[in-house]
């Protein structure tokens, strides 16, 4: 059984946010409109956190893409009263939308704030409503939604591989964010396969986990920035 994870090379990330757009398009994440977004209702399963270092004019800008860390010890899972938030066998933090009753407890327990509540039924600014992905279900008002590592692509690749009677190859599965990253800052794959690119990068001395001391054991490794630019 694979254990899906990701490595994020902060040296390569230039904060272009192509991953954010790709994530919205792939996962049918509704655009809530300018007013609602200004009220803090925007749902970016993946966001680019922007931090300034130093004092003006001697400042340095750093970016950090933050998405669900798919923790091995996820605080969101035990608190859900209905098992809507649960751990799959291949290590994903799954969210069963149909089982969610909207206590929003998982979002409170999540140290990364990567869970989003649907305050209204989904709607899109035209013509975005014409490009919905048929592989991803829409979420009605009152449920939590979050990054799935594009579970529909993981499933499709697994089905394709078993039809061809072979194993899933490293790099065969690309979540939308990974596929769209122009600088190849994001790498996805099986952490239990020691030869995969993601597990090689995860073992890098540059690697660290986000909020590791909270004890969540995240499956995303951030490779520290080394360039001075």
């Amino acid at each position: 059984m694979p254990r899906w994870g990701m490595a994020v090379d902060l040296d390569r990330c230039n904060g272009c946010a192509a991953c954010v757009v790709a994530c919205h398009a792939e996962n049918n994440i509704s655009t809530v409109g300018a007013d609602e977004a200004a009220r803090g209702r925007a749902k970016h399963w993946l966001r680019i956190e922007r931090y300034w270092e130093g004092e003006f004019p001697d400042v340095r800008l750093t970016f950090r893409p933050v998405l669900c860390q798919h923790c091995d010890n996820a605080p969101c899972e035990p608190v859900c009263p209905t098992y809507a938030s649960h751990h799959t066998e291949d290590g994903l933090n799954a969210q069963v939308y149909n089982r969610c009753i909207g206590t929003r407890y998982c979002a409170n327990a999540c140290p990364y704030n990567v869970r989003f509540f649907d305050f209204f039924n989904p709607s899109w600014d035209k013509p975005l409503h014409l490009q919905l992905n048929p592989d991803v279900s829409l979420r009605e008002a009152g449920v939590m939604e979050k990054c799935t590592f594009c579970v529909q692509r993981i499933q499709a690749a697994g089905t394709q591989a078993s039809a061809e009677e072979r194993e899933v190859q490293d790099g065969e599965i690309q979540p939308a964010c990974v596929q769209s990253c122009p600088s190849k800052a994001l790498v996805f794959g099986d952490l239990d396969d020691p030869g995969s690119r993601v597990s090689q990068l995860s073992r890098s001395p540059r690697g660290s986990k986000l909020l590791e001391d909270v004890g969540t054991r995240p499956k995303i490794t951030y490779l520290a920035r080394q360039s001075q630019a």
């Binding site: 609602e36 009263p81 327990a109 989003f116 909020l211």
Partner: protein, 452 residues
């Protein structure tokens, strides 16, 4: 000061049941209008979507959860205080116990509504129940919300029994004096009570068992409510002090609620000869003790956080102590500590009016306390990029006001249909060797003579 006896007690305490004044209808209409407004607000939230509330990423819990904790806290007035006073056989408890116990039942009912109101999809709330499902899906027993479900249901069942048992002989009194439909209703409620020695013996035994059993239940309920917060890895939530801190706060706000209810009953039902200044005085001393205990817990929690100086905790700590939530925080400290300490600590101010002012302050202060536990922590959770804040929208304010109106409405209706002071217990208190109904004020005024 006169001691009402025998038929005088019956006449005084049954008067609200048998005679209806226009004031009753005005009060019911007044509170009922607010409750109706609250229902409309909730229905519109379901109809238009949860977005009409002020909740936003990352503060996903706001007024509703504050109200939930607040009302469950208020429910600790009654049953717990009444059970303790019964067990130590404090003579002055007799006119107080029932108006306390009924607060518990109603506050629990109102408090238990808020988890439903706050659900994203409230029509699926039954998924929290461990009902036999053909899909073999059970609720997640690791979730503190499921513990809440069991804790609150246990406490509610126990509190209703605890309230109902001593009402049986009083239902019989009403049955014997009423006519027509009223007689038939109270006959059913009196469960065939005849006042035989065997029945009295069984009632006393049942009351003793309930009084002992309900105390650990009451303590556990608010501990489990505190687990909703302390089990999550959120800065300033994840702390071991929350269990006792919440229980102390609950009893504190509960006593305040009871004092306000007693003052209102005394005034509107003309129970001056039953609810004496000494009752307020004794409960005022309890309020003073709980204010000190509350201050001790807050000091502990804050000092340990400050001394530990963890970056995540300090971000929340700074918000509450001297940044955006500071005005609310220091108002809370004044209302929960300075005000009750001054009014209840100085004997001159420990009058009925003083008790009511202190109690209103404590009610507001304890509501703020729950708000300040929930919102600043959620808004300042670890990553500075995802800091956020929260402002309530009209729907939440209306529902909050409606919950207070619902409490008042239920209380008015209860006092209309059931003797709000236990008639038989009052009569039992007249006969020696039971303590006097009204101990000499000069003796009882000293803290050392508090029969606790």
């Amino acid at each position: 000061m006169t001691h009402p006896t025998g038929s005088r007690i019956n006449n005084d305490l049954l008067r609200p049941l048998l005679l209806t004044s226009w004031r009753f209808y005005v009060l019911v209409a007044f509170f009922g209008a607010f409750v109706a407004a609250g229902l409309i607000a909730w229905l519109s939230q379901i109809f238009f979507g949860f977005g009409i509330s002020g909740l936003r990423w990352p503060v996903y819990w706001g007024f509703y959860v504050t109200n939930f904790v607040f009302w469950i806290g208020i429910s600790h007035a009654g049953t717990l205080i009444s059970a303790i006073l019964r067990l130590v056989n404090a003579g002055w408890r007799r006119p107080v116990t029932r108006c306390a116990e009924v607060i518990t039942v109603f506050a629990l009912l109102i408090g238990a509504m808020f988890p439903l109101i706050h659900l994203g999809r409230p029509w699926l709330a039954f998924w929290l129940f461990p009902y036999p499902s053909e899909r073999l899906i059970w609720p997640n027993f690791r979730s503190p919300l499921v513990w809440d479900f069991f804790a609150i249901n246990t406490y509610l069942t126990g509190s209703i029994l605890f309230l109902f048992l001593p009402m049986i002989p009083d239902f019989a009194v009403v049955r014997d004096r009423a006519t027509g439909l009223r007689r038939r209703v109270y006959r059913v409620l009196a469960l065939g009570w005849r006042g035989t020695p065997k029945q009295w013996h069984r009632l006393e035994t049942a009351m003793q068992i309930m009084a002992i059993a309900i105390i650990p239940v009451a303590v556990s309920v608010h501990t489990i409510v505190s687990f909703d917060f302390s089990m999550a890895p959120v800065p300033m939530w994840n702390t071991t002090i929350f269990g006792p801190y919440f229980v102390a706060g609950a009893i504190f706000s509960g006593i305040a609620g009871l004092l306000i209810a007693m003052a209102a009953l005394r005034k509107f039902l003309h129970l001056e000869e039953y609810l004496h200044p000494v009752h307020f005085e004794n409960l005022g001393k309890l309020l003073l003790v709980m204010a000190l205990l509350w201050g001790y817990f807050v000091f502990n929690e804050r000092l340990v956080t400050y001394y530990g100086n963890g970056p995540a905790e300090m971000a929340v700590f700074r918000q509450t102590q001297w940044q955006s939530f500071a005005p609310l925080h220091w108002t809370m400290v004044f209302l929960n500590f300075v005000l009750p300490l001054t009014l209840m600590g100085i004997r001159k101010f420990r009058t009925i009016a003083g008790c009511v002012i202190a109690s209103i302050g404590v009610i507001v202060g304890m509501w703020l306390e729950r708000f300040l536990i929930i919102v600043p922590a959620l808004g300042h959770k670890y990553l500075p990029y995802s800091y956020g804040t929260y402002r309530p929208e009209p729907v939440e304010i209306v529902i909050t006001i409606a919950s207070f109106a619902a409490m008042s409405l239920l209380y008015v209706l209860f006092a209309k249909f059931i003797p709000i002071i236990s008639i038989w217990e009052l009569k039992a208190g007249e006969h020696p060797p039971a303590p006097d109904l009204v101990p000499p004020a000069t003796e009882e005024h000293r803290l050392g003579d508090l029969r606790l």
